[in-house]
């Protein structure tokens, strides 16, 4: 799972308290760098969809990059490259994702998060 996807992902346990199902906290992560083609236009259109605070804190906690406090209002090519590197070229290989709303733990194995829920969670 790349960080772009983590930035969009929320807990889908049915009774998860509204407003607390995002973001999922990444613990014990093992990361992998990917080689993905850079598309400035895609990244530019991605920016308004990103939760910048979450991207920033995730990148910081995982030790990937130190992103600026605010997302650059008029991003330069370098800014776009930096976002590309964090969001599209960083992959979580092994980890646990913990929901702070309901406590559900989603394990990530070999890059694939297990999102399966128990019967009482649906």
């Amino acid at each position: 799972m790349r960080l772009i996807t983590h930035n969009m992902l929320q807990c889908h346990v049915k009774a998860c308290p509204p407003g607390q199902s995002y973001p999922l906290q990444i613990r014990n992560a093992e990361l992998e760098a990917l080689d993905a083609e850079f598309n400035a236009d895609f990244v530019r259109r991605l920016i308004p969809k990103l939760d910048w605070k979450v991207l920033r804190s995730t990148a910081f906690e995982l030790g990937v990059a130190q992103l600026p406090e605010e997302c650059p209002a008029e991003p330069t090519e370098d800014d776009l490259q930096m976002i590309h590197k964090v969001a599209l070229q960083t992959r979580v290989k092994e980890a646990e994702m913990v929901c702070s709303g309901c406590g559900h733990v989603y394990p990530i194995k070999d890059g694939v998060p297990n999102m399966l829920l128990q019967d009482h969670e649906i």
Binding site: I4, L9, K14, R45, V112
Partner: protein, 282 residues
């Protein structure tokens, strides 16, 4: 022929054996590829733009490969870890999730520019466990999918309905979740080529009259030249050669080109790069 949905739950049916057989059968590969192309065409994404797309029931990545071929960034989910295992071996670019779509899809509002699903949702119509009530699973699936899609985005499902009641149940669940759209049946008069595509539009919950018209089906009288999708993207080769098992053999690409020519679309002339992995240029 018995329907696989009747034999076992999907995560059991698509075991290691079946996942390997499935992904090495050239007939299956070309059929799944072709349906994924058609779904992508019906998705009508803006031309020349890389989109963020969800592949629902991505399996071993046969449908996702088509998204890659067009340069899109994708996320796939599937309930069968054996199918996902094959997808990993084949080094697909998409992010994979082990997930039961009947339990809902959990993405923030407006995440995806579009979603495709090839040969999957008929599985939701079967209750394999007592807790798996088809109607409530369809409801949970469509309502969470609806909010995961950007306004104006589409979701296209190729599926194999067992009977008219199933079609009714699926469409009404989708409409209740807020989608507009409907069913496009390609080649309705051919028992072999007939294919069902459920085309759903997100974002017209409160203004259904602004919802786009359904795309025209293929093979009913005039060929579907109205559905215009010939990609004008400029392609380059991938920077490094990728070591993966070929999904589309050269024959299949030829076939697709012929199909497109028959539909009156522009297709690139055959070149020596045909059937090689390509990436979008910007």
């Amino acid at each position: 022929m018995s329907r696989p949905e009747h034999t076992a739950p999907p995560e059991i049916f698509y075991n290691e054996d079946e996942a390997t057989k499935y992904t090495s059968n050239s007939r299956i590969i070309s059929i799944q590829n072709e349906m994924a192309w058609r779904a992508l065409e019906l998705l009508a994404l803006p031309e020349d733009e890389v989109a963020f797309v969800l592949d629902i029931g991505c399996g071993s990545g046969l449908s996702g490969e088509v998204l890659e071929e067009e340069g899109h960034v994708w996320v796939g989910m599937d309930i069968s870890d054996s199918m996902l295992e094959v997808a990993k071996e084949r080094e697909v670019d998409g992010d994979l999730f082990l997930q039961d779509i009947g339990q809902g899809v959990g993405f923030r509002a407006g995440t995806f520019d579009g979603a495709i699903s090839i040969s999957v949702i008929q599985w939701l119509c079967n209750a394999d466990k007592t807790v798996n009530n088809p109607r409530s699973r369809l409801k949970r699936f469509f309502s969470t999918l609806y909010s995961s899609l950007a306004r104006g985005a589409r979701a296209v499902f190729q599926f194999y309905p067992e009977n008219p009641e199933q079609i009714e149940m699926i469409i009404s669940s989708a409409m209740k979740a807020g989608f507009t759209g409907g069913l496009v049946v390609d080649f309705p008069n051919s028992s072999k080529a007939k294919k069902y595509y459920l085309c759903l539009f997100a974002g017209y919950k409160d203004n259904a009259k602004d919802s786009p018209a359904l795309p025209k089906a293929l093979g009913e009288g005039d060929e579907g030249v109205q559905v215009n999708y010939a990609s004008k993207r400029v392609h380059t080769r991938r920077k490094e050669p990728v070591d993966r098992k070929a999904v589309k053999d050269k024959k299949w690409v030829q076939h697709k080109k012929e199909l497109n020519r028959a539909r009156g679309k522009d297709t690139p002339l055959d070149s020596k790069y045909t059937a090689r992995k390509r990436r979008t240029k910007f």
